[in-house]
Subunit: 340 residues, 4 copies
């Protein structure tokens, strides 16, 4: 860290999320500075760096991590290159905030898990931002306090206006439902043991967006809970993330998002956020702030590599369940002591 | 009543409300039959009567009341002729359900009050249908039970899509706010002692419908409560009646009307009823059923001539307050024993 | 029918629902009279009959159906005796409103179906009262009009405060989820083709009420839709029936039930109905009124014997799915012309 | 500013709001550092300063403003000393974020207004934090865009759990309703021209908290709008700030605050924030961030001294209206060019 205690951050990947994190670290976050950015697109990196005093631009992630003033790394590059970048950060002993997914599959996630174990201490926080959303935090507190008794079911809805170009059916699991996988594990403190996927068949054999959807994804957990997730990536009307926890003495729901209510033209109601960046803006701000605060105190908190690995394993099972229509068990290695 | 205990009803006036009551009595209400209808428009009366076995059509209200099989009278004629029709019903000893207003002004209402007193027993139920709405009934029960402590304020909203042809500014008070006048008196069990009207001035000097509106009507009561009523007869978007009671230990609101909630095209929300007949359909059904049930048991219940008179007096004060911008006291005669 | 056109009804079974229907027919419904009641408990039948002019009491259902003035039959007896009573009504040519279930299993329902076919005309309306609930009717209209595009999923919640004594795990399907079975078939106009049941395992191996619950029941339909139903018969907090239809261009939800909203003691919110009789009071009133109206016009409408049979078949599959944890197909005979 | 571009802030007053702002500037705000704190309670100032590198503690506000590294001043001291501190900041040419009220009365506010005019440029942002609340910002945008037509009424609710010790009846206006005064002026872009106060009379002559309340405060504006404000400082159940704007083509409401909804024990609903610090936490964070951002760019934005002066004048009228029961006009000097 600098003499003023400011955390110098290297941001790897300056696409949509990366650029947003650069802006956040530079303009919103307390106690952090963007010390370096890296992107294969040298122009894009340079444009971002130019706006920030003391920030250097790189095409090589390793160079960015090694740049002067870098105390920590925020990885916002595509999933397939995460493994190499994480291992490099481990060599440099730098704390990392790694956007989800940790890595694209359970095998590579397991290698990262083993590497961090060899290091003997946690360096990575995985970017499951819902854990920092005010409503989800309140739900978590209520469940942990057993205010409504024992949780037994979660009903989840996850809707996007439309998929980004190149979005595939399996990305419905690995890119979208991965959030509900983490939400389930975090809210309940339980591991997912099996996944099923039920697919409605539209009259013409496909969903509105060309992929067969919406789909209903079902989890079982080792604590006996049942979770259903509606995933609808082309719902057309807005971005909606809802979760209702059904407990033995009551239920609790978050995500209705009723801010301003209008009456007009025969209808009452309000706007639906069109985008996760809008819906979870505060959660991202809080996530990054907490990460910076922890780094400056020399600790690592939040979702761990184990969480990233368990999510990857559940995603793999989910993709197989989607393809086969069968119940697919989720298999995990034993949980290492470092993550207990 | 007929040998089967069915209550034969003469319906006086077959405009929108009268025709709706004929339909209700004939098709919905238990234990009643439409025995006679009267309307200055002979054709209209005949058309209605023709659809109902044993129902006779009249142009003269007195003839309808004297027709065979008539046990009770439902008055749905224009306000100015109510007085004569009520007095005639008194002579015949027939119980009456009289659509609001009882009469158009406090003077005539007082004459009806005195006539009923001379009769020595109640014959009239005034058609303040909100007293039969499920939500208002629940609010009344909550206030009566002092569940939230002592009621101190009411915030009321009364919005119509658009005024009917010929609607005048003073009808905002005497035709619309008259409902809030009764709601206030009934919910709180208090008399209104003064009225004020505040009128926003639109940039061009008038409200959207040509009358200066919305207006804010303010009541004080003899129990110390303060009531505000937004009256907006040309709001354009729907028919909305809301009421929030503010008590010493909490508040309660009815009228949000959230039945079906949809998500579509970037918005969540629902439909607003476009019409009081739709919004208060159940209340009208219940009002008429209760009246028929009471008549068949030989009793009279519900809003009384006193309620009709007190509403008329408050309306008169309201119209004067609207014209002058001043606080106008409401003056009532002493409440007769018959109505205590 | 009597000379006044009143429909004389024999009510068979005077338990909770039967007694409520007697009250309804006598006090609420227009154009009907209770002409006879039958119950194995002679005292109970007599007590009810005594309060109603011209109503006779019986212990033998056949005697009640044959009593003077009986034009139609309302069957509210236990499911196992429905078949014999329905067949008797067929012999007498009497229209029937039969409380759900039509019969307790698909085999007996099929026999009733065949008997009505032999008769060559419909006599039976099955008591699926949700089809008469204002919110469900609105949802049905919206789906039929394709206002939100093509329906692809239903998310249903069905919660009871606590089960009645003697309630068994399979009754969660045959007594409770049977309503969602009919709702699904009616709202979508599709047949259910397979059922699955997922059961959370509480830490101590059982749900809060001793039966393993809540359970998640899943339907597939011949139109390609996927339906999930949370059934929770011992939720403790209230009676809640919700349904969200997810369509290609939006979603719509009914059953939130937000009537009066209070603020008190640090919380905003409202009451949850404790009972289906309260929640669906208006639906029952409307169901019986529509049935009486149709009978008086000499027609039969509403849920048919086919609907009762298809529900019974889906229930059987559901109970087997509950026991085995497997996906169980629903097998139906070909739909007879009478019910197309 | 320091060589790193960090804004060094002197915080004057370290009571509840001041201490919270110190925490905010130190831990949340980007680009700011607390360079000095001042409080008559030397211990309290020292305790706060000790936790922050390079922060000095003072009892004399002037010394704090003159301390090394101070680029800007945040005034969170009691209202009566604001004037002197503002004038001192003017001498030093330091930008100021001044907690509301600007000063306790219109006379002193006018002197500050004149002093800033002599300076010839704006230095002060007044702490009306609602202007930074996400919901109020959305409402403001909707009104400015005339999405619902012309705004004609505002219905406001302002409820506190209980008043702080020493809270007087006139503080209901000057400490609480002052927020609605600013909200009205800001949302509508209009000046308040007259104030009325209606006071319910509880049976025992006083409100639940000893002050006569709730009260209904009414504003008229120079744009012809009518505004009603329920102020209830001892409502007992929570902190609630609501505002509904009624426009010529619709209405819009903010402040319902429906985050998490639970079902339990016969009720659905959610928690009400107990405190303005909780309800407006994000607004305070945003307010201070925007101020810091503007200071670092060398500009002054947000609510101006004119806004503080106009609010003080309306408060004075409100307090007089409260005492007299009369309509009291608000008199303002002509708006200087600096604030147009």
């Amino acid at each position: 860290m600098t003499e003023h205690g400011t955390l110098g951050v290297a941001v790897i990947g300056t696409g949509r999320m990366g650029a947003d994190h650069v802006r956040r670290l530079h303009e919103i976050t307390n106690g952090a500075a963007v010390a370096a950015v890296a992107d294969p697109d040298a122009e894009r990196a340079k444009r971002l760096a130019d706006g920030i005093d003391g920030c250097t631009a790189h095409t090589d992630p390793d160079a960015a991590m090694a740049a002067p003033g870098v105390d920590a790394v925020l990885i916002a590059s595509p999933g397939p290159v995460h493994e190499a970048q994480l291992l490099r950060a481990f060599e440099l002993g730098l704390p990392v905030l790694c956007e989800k997914p940790l890595t694209p599959d359970a095998g590579s996630a397991l290698r990262v898990l083993e590497a961090e174990q060899r290091l003997g201490r946690r360096l990575v926080q995985v970017g499951f931002m819902r854990r920092y959303d005010a409503e989800f935090l309140r739900l978590k507190a209520l469940l942990d306090a057993r205010e409504l008794g024992h949780p037994m079911m979660l009903h989840c809805r996850h809707r996007n206006v439309s998929p980004s170009p190149g979005f595939t059916e399996q990305m419905m699991i690995s890119d979208s439902v991965v959030h509900e996988i983490d939400t389930t594990r975090w809210l309940l403190g339980q591991e997912i043991t099996a996944v099923r996927v039920l697919r409605p068949a539209a009259p013409d054999g496909s969903g509105p967006g060309g992929v067969g959807e919406p789909q209903l994804v079902l989890f079982e957990t080792d604590g006996g809970a049942v979770v259903d997730v509606e995933i609808f990536v082309n719902c057309g009307f807005g971005y909606q993330v809802r979760c209702e926890a059904v407990c033995s003495a009551g239920s609790a729901r978050v995500g209705d998002g009723h801010a301003m209510v209008t009456n007009a033209a025969g209808r009452w109601g309000g706007e639906i956020a069109q985008d996760f960046v809008v819906r979870f803006e505060d959660a991202y701000d809080r996530e990054v702030q907490r990460w910076v605060d922890a780094c400056r105190r020399g600790v690592v908190e939040g979702p761990s590599v184990w969480d990233g690995y368990a999510a990857a394993a559940a995603c793999e099972a989910g993709v197989r369940a989607q393809a086969t229509g069968e119940r697919v068990p989720v298999e995990l290695v034993e949980r290492p002591a470092l993550y207990r």
